[in-house]
């Protein structure tokens, strides 16, 4: 097996609030190979975004703090770097695309300036050269009229165009790892399809790895090779995409797959199937839970589930789940 590009090992990020410690990420491990796309899926509050922000050390502190773990990027622990060293990594070797381009772009700067910034910072380009490269980059993300758009401000662009600017910014320094946090959630479905296609194509061309944070299993199936499923701050299952969709082992993964209506389903099976409900809701992350966090909602729960945290069990190559009573 080739050396992973990035290895997250036992990462714990907690938030120390006035009414207690929120264990937003509570011991998560995974790795991404060069050129691979790994999806991290889960519902709101499962810790998927905090995981990605922790990798780049963008957690606001206080109240947040990475309390344990390592993030080995090309063999180097990012958590041990100084802030200056870390700044040299962000936007260069590792870059990030956020969900809401309107809030993550600077409204007071032209999009050209924002794309050029990291070239000036990381590559020492002159402003003029960097702007020329910004136009080329906008052309590459298939922005219509790049020469004109480069001088415009974010509010003058549509949502899809803004997300193209974000991608141009993220890819302009040729990162080895791209972290995309719900990159298409705010977009309409026809625009989402364009953006996903673009990300796939550009990442393939550059040989970059992607960590794709999403709640949409459709996006996972189309984009990723491997998947990590998170629940309440912990990883519950990891597998190749094909394996996860065909043979989910963790009852939460199975519930998630069954709760989504699939396009064409109700038309093929007359009347359709009833959606799988996962009863109840996500537990509070402020309390210490002795067992599996999913146990109170789990149809497979047995006595042991509320007493001991289940360890990971392997189910074939690359497939593991943390469950005392898995789906057969």
């Amino acid at each position: 097996m080739t050396m992973p590009l990035i290895e997250v090992d036992g990462l714990k990020t907690h938030f120390f609030t006035r009414d207690g410690v929120v264990r937003a990420v509570d011991g998560i491990s995974f790795s991404v190979a060069p050129g691979e796309t790994l999806a991290v899926v889960g519902e709101s509050g499962c810790g998927k975004s905090v995981t990605s922000l922790s990798i780049l050390r963008l957690i606001a502190s206080p109240p947040g703090r990475i309390v344990a773990g390592r993030v080995l990027f090309e063999g180097r622990d990012l958590l041990a770097l100084t802030e200056n060293e870390m700044r040299a990594v962000r936007g260069d070797a590792i870059s990030m695309i956020f969900q809401e381009p309107m809030t993550s772009l600077n409204p007071a700067l032209t999009v050209g300036r924002q794309i050029a910034e990291s070239l000036v910072l990381h590559r020492g380009l002159s402003h003029r050269d960097a702007m020329a490269k910004a136009v080329a980059m906008l052309r590459k993300v298939r922005m219509p009229e790049p020469e004109r758009r480069v001088r415009q401000y974010p509010h003058e662009l549509s949502g899809g165009m803004r997300q193209r600017v974000m991608i141009a910014m993220a890819l302009v320094c040729g990162p080895r790892l791209l972290i995309a946090d719900e990159p298409t959630t705010a977009l309409d479905v026809t625009i989402q399809a364009q953006i996903l296609e673009l990300m796939r194509e550009l990442a393939r061309e550059a040989g970059a790895s992607i960590i794709l944070i999403t709640h949409d299993l459709g996006v996972v199936a189309e984009m990723a090779q491997r998947v990590v499923v998170m629940y309440a701050g912990r990883k519950v299952e990891e597998a190749s995409v094909a394996e996860l969709f065909a043979r989910p082992r963790h009852p939460y993964t199975r519930g998630l797959l069954g709760s989504m209506p699939h396009l064409g389903d109700s038309v093929r099976n007359e009347g359709g199937r009833r959606l799988v409900e996962i009863p109840g809701m996500v537990p509070s992350l402020k309390e210490e839970h002795p067992g599996c966090l999913f146990a109170p909602r789990c149809p497979n729960a047995i006595a042991r589930c509320t007493q001991e945290v289940p360890p990971f069990t392997a189910y074939g190559p690359g497939h593991q789940a943390a469950c005392w009573n898995p789906v057969p």
């Binding site: 165009m161 209506p261 699939h262 959606l275 409900e277 809701m281």
Partner: protein, 327 residues
């Protein structure tokens, strides 16, 4: 379009223009939010209304509920026009025509206890002794899957899914016949979304409710709807029974929309034909067919002439020059 029996709601040529502020055309510019929409909803039926942001689907819902007044067109409720009614005239209609909105946070009064949120419409429409009102509210609570100990709580004490249940209980309180559901599950996580969709479908079966189900998620719309209308830039481009829309879409936009949905099955990973470009501005919509700027099949005629919505196959109406009714 001839509507068969037991039609509850009809909409004819509905239009809503909003004044737009633009730099050059400050005087005359208008946003054509809804531009000539017609459809009907039968008793016990769910009509899904889909389209991308800005297509006018939510405005259509608001016009029906009279939260906005139409610029033109008719809204007919059980055979009677309601688009001109005043407050007093609308009062009995509002009882039968209820709404559930996307964001249960902003559509529930934060200062009211849950029991009063559900009881208020009952008190408003029926003069019942308070004990009976509270009893009805408690029954509704149980019916939508809320616990009796939650009756005295405030909206902020509920999770998103529970707030949506509360919104549904409020809509049900006065025994409506049709509920306009505007993106009722899009703010919810998938596991909770399934709970709410199942609840809506169960309630429909139990009370013979009709829904106008406005949403952008095509898989959800397919799951819950009997018929589906697809909107683009203020117009309905296709309306048909669910089976026809999802197995044999006839409008190029419907086709593209279905094609763009990511399929949660890695075995079906597909090479798609993608729609180019963005949706044009509704302030100055393209002439002819509004979809022609993005349509892969557009011809000269599409740029000039607006296609009418015509019945191409039984129950399937399409607004496209390339689809002609059988001779």
């Amino acid at each position: 379009m001839t509507a068969p029996g037991n039609v509850l709601l009809e909409v004819h040529g509905l239009r809503k223009f909003f004044p737009a502020r633009t730099r050059m055309l400050a005087r005359s510019a208008k946003v054509h939010a809804v531009d000539g929409v017609s459809f009907w909803v039968r008793e016990g039926e769910t009509l899904g209304l889909v389209g991308e942001s800005g297509c006018g689907k939510s405005t259509t819902g608001k016009l029906i509920l009279r939260l906005l007044d139409p610029t033109e067109g008719e809204v007919v409720w059980r055979g009677r026009r309601i688009d001109q009614l005043d407050r007093a005239g609308m009062r009995p209609v509002r009882r039968e025509l209820q709404a559930v909105f996307q964001d249960p946070y902003s559509s529930l009064n934060p200062r009211m206890r849950a029991v009063d949120i559900v009881a208020e419409p009952i008190r408003n429409y029926e003069s019942l002794p308070e004990a009976q009102v509270r009893g009805r509210a408690a029954d509704l609570f149980a019916r939508v899957g809320l616990r009796p100990d939650q009756l005295l709580k405030y909206p902020y004490e509920f999770s998103g899914g529970q707030r949506q249940r509360l919104g549904i209980a409020r809509a049900l309180a006065v025994q409506p016949r049709l509920i306009v559901c505007d993106e009722p599950v899009s703010a919810l996580d998938v596991s909770v979304q399934a709970q709410v969709i199942n609840l809506l479908m169960d309630l429909q079966a139990e009370f013979n409710l009709s829904y106008l189900f406005i949403a952008h998620d095509l898989a959800v719309v397919e799951h819950i709807s009997h018929r589906v209308a697809v909107m683009y830039l203020g117009k309905i481009v296709e309306i048909a029974p669910k089976h026809a829309i999802f197995t044999r879409p006839l409008h190029p936009y419907t086709e593209a929309l279905l094609e763009a949905v990511p399929v949660p099955d890695p075995a079906l990973r597909k090479q798609r034909r993608l729609l180019a470009g963005d949706v044009p501005s509704p302030i100055d919509p393209p002439p002819g067919c509004r979809f022609h700027t993005r349509c892969p099949y557009a011809e000269e005629r599409c740029r000039r002439e607006e296609p009418p919505l015509q019945e191409i196959s039984p129950g399937q109406l399409v607004a496209c020059h390339l689809r002609q009714p059988p001779a």
